[in-house]
């Protein structure tokens, strides 16, 4: 299952170059909070399939903006199967997304946000 985080540093650096350290940290924090909320909604299980697809679509796009390859890929799989997957597979796919997100969040906090807050200070 998802242990490692594939991360495209060049994509993240480009974002950092455009936004600067402070805004990059702000946007990244927004992403982590927003994605955490989306996951809670997905895990609650009350959403219709089209809403699940849209949540997955958003996570896929935003994760890719930061260069978070694994998370984007797992969200892409959920988006592709959201409308047709059996219920059990859907739950499994959401759990997979949760694992990918937790790994990404840990990585982001340790490797990206801490150095960024150092740079901004």
């Amino acid at each position: 299952m998802t242990k490692t985080v594939s991360f495209d540093e060049s994509v993240f650096c480009e974002l950092g170059d455009e936004l600067g350290a402070e805004d990059t940290a702000m946007v990244l924090n927004t992403f982590l909070a927003d994605t955490a909320n989306r996951l809670l909604r997905l895990e609650a299980g009350g959403e219709v399939r089209s809403a699940i697809r849209r949540e997955a679509h958003s996570i896929k796009s935003s994760a890719a903006t930061f260069g978070f390859g694994t998370l984007s890929q797992v969200a892409r799989d959920l988006e592709a199967g959201a409308e047709a997957m059996p219920q059990a597979a859907l739950r499994e796919s959401v759990q997979e997304l949760r694992r990918a997100f937790e790994a990404t969040r840990t990585f982001a906090q340790d490797k990206l946000l801490n150095p960024l807050s150092g740079a901004a200070a």
């Binding site: 994509v11 480009e14 974002l15 455009e18 936004l19 600067g20 805004d23 702000m26 946007v27 927004t30 992403f31 927003d34 994605t35 089209s50 849209r54 679509h57 958003s58 896929k60 796009s61 935003s62 994760a63 890719a64 903006t65 984007s72």
Partner: protein
Amino acid sequence: MRAIQHRTEQLRGRLLVVEDDLVQQTIIGTIGAKLGYDSVVASTVESASNLLRTEKFDMMTLDLSLGERDGVELLRLISGLKLNALPIVVISGYEERILNTIKRVAATFDLSLINCLSKPLNIDKLRVALVKPAFHRPIADCEAARPAIGRDRIVAALEQKEFFVELQPKIDLRTNEICGAEALARWLAPEFGIVSPEIFVPLIEQFGLMPALTHLVCDTAVAIGSRLIRQSPGFTIAVNVSGSDLGDLTLPERIDGILREHDVRPESLVVEVTESIAMSDVGRAMDVMSRLRLRGVGAAIDDFGTGFSSLAALAKLPFNELKIDKTFAGNCDTDQDMMKVVEASIALAKAFGMKTVAEGIDHSSTLKALLDAGCDSGQGHLFAPSLRTRQFASLMKQWDPGAAGRYPAAAPSRRRTAALACG
């Protein structure tokens, strides 16, 4: 609704960010602020509609998927509000085919679509799109700038011979020879300058004066053509004939008269039929066209694929040439959807034993794609724009099929034409 203030000395005005995703809102708004925009974020179609109705913006980014609704209805609204000059950057995670269609939708609404960016958002491309200055529309295209032109003014223009003809060369794509020219009506009005055909053709249709213009253009074009045909046997001259002309049962006799007067064989003339107005009376059109064809005059179906009843007209009328519209041919090297239409059009033409002419060849890559698809001939800015008679004659004299135009050594023809057009 969120607002993000500009953070630069240079002010670019107000940016409307239509986006339902919090992360994307923040990124786009922040990039905008760093470029000097005051960004306003709208997350739903409703809030964006309200903002567009009540406030003024200098730039807009639009995500196509907004919850259960989509951004296309906003494009329609922008057109309805006559905000055609508002620069729009479309951002979407959808596939290229859908984005291409959105581009066409924006073109249909005559909107200022600057760019379509795909997700994940490339920040560099976004920045470039947002700093691109709004493109300025030529004044003649603006509704308000159109002079009011009445029927009497156009009757006078026809009598005073204010209409004249420009010629655009048709090139045989295999030999790279100039094989003919399309005659295009132009109007130089002393008080307005050059009036665009997009303005005068609908007026002439509306006033029922098309037969008079067609007669004038045909007479002028055949007169010019007679000299060119002597210079280059096999050369054909094409004139545009509208649906309303084909309702005129005297057209074949009038064309006969013109050909005799200038001593030109019927085979050297091609009538290009557009369906800008639906051919309401197909019976008459069949009558007129069959008599023209019996005399030996060629007939081309113009702007194929864009009219109301292209396939019905193709099946019923005796065309011997099919002109693939520039919206298909001009983009066929970069747009796979367009290439499919081009290939199907060529196959259809072959099935009917017709020659194919591609319009809108502006790049050597387009020429290469059309050659590979088996297209016979074409016209476009890669070879030459429409030219005054004298310029066209010198282009014919200088034309070297081995040296220019033909792929891959296409570039010289562009330079040569540019020099001619300026000279």
